[in-house]
């Protein structure tokens, strides 16, 4: 599945990935797909919590070493 929006937060630490994510999600419509990539050690937890709080559905998680790519439905 292709993402409507790709967000790169590589090198950013807590809470910047969340701030970026919140700002991006506000500009998107419901049902669109968002893909976010980051390498913060607590990045994956943050995005999972963000999705649960906002009622977004996690679609896919890919890990390559430190790099984590998460796709979810807004």
């Amino acid at each position: 599945m292709a993402a409507n929006r790709m967000v790169d937060v590589m090198g950013k630490v807590c809470p910047l990935p969340l701030i970026t994510l919140a700002k991006e999600v506000r500009t998107m419509q419901k049902g669109q797909m968002m893909s976010i990539v980051g390498d913060d050690p607590i990045f994956e937890d943050s995005v999972i919590d963000f999705c649960r709080e906002g009622g977004h559905e996690l679609v896919d998680t890919q890990r390559e070493g430190k790099k984590v790519t998460i796709m979810f439905q807004v």
Binding site: V13, P15, L16, I19, A22
Partner: protein, 174 residues
């Protein structure tokens, strides 16, 4: 019901202000409606840094709305001079080392890619965090709302704080 939270920042120390703003921005990003209250030296992080002997211009038409200018004396300009604030110029509560501590701390934050206080304040503002300053602190310390780095700061009293904290799920005090 929307989740709500309030933060009360009393301290003018960099570490406490940083913690308060990291929590505020994080919570706001997760959809919590955040309100931040600043009392006593807590508002130092919102102040625009001025020169040591900067002339203080008082606009009675604006400042008179939330301050009693008639009871001002020499102490207000003195406090203004001694307590200049500025988000990037706050002292640390530990290991301040006569002003060297915050410089090293800023270097450490930069190296670790952690945002500094001013960036976090602007992020909080963009995420819709609301800022409130205590009215009596404004009056006693001679603070002008026009001297702050963020617009939309409201001057309120303890009744509004009571209403907001009783409404909120969490209240943090730094």
């Amino acid at each position: 019901m929307n989740k709500k939270g309030t933060i009360l920042l009393l301290s003018g120390d960099l570490d406490k202000a940083l913690a308060a703003f990291i929590i505020a921005t994080g919570f706001a990003a997760l959809g919590v409606e955040m309100k931040m209250w600043f009392m006593i030296f807590g508002h130092n992080c919102l102040k625009k840094r001025k020169r040591l002997f900067a002339r203080r211009r008082t606009d009675p038409t604006r400042e008179g709305l939330y301050r009693d200018l008639a009871t001002d004396n020499i102490l207000q300009p003195m406090v203004e001079m001694m307590n200049r604030g500025g988000a990037e110029h706050l002292p640390l509560s530990q290991l301040n080392l006569m002003g060297l501590g915050p410089v090293l701390f800023a270097k450490m934050l930069k190296k670790k890619n952690i945002p500094h206080l001013e960036e976090l304040i602007h992020s909080a503002d963009e995420l819709g965090v609301k800022f409130y300053i205590c009215q009596i602190c404004c009056d006693a310390l001679g603070l002008s709302v026009d001297d702050l780095i963020v617009p939309n700061v409201e001057i309120k009293g303890v009744s509004t704080y009571m209403k907001d904290t009783m409404d909120a799920h969490v209240n943090l005090v730094f």
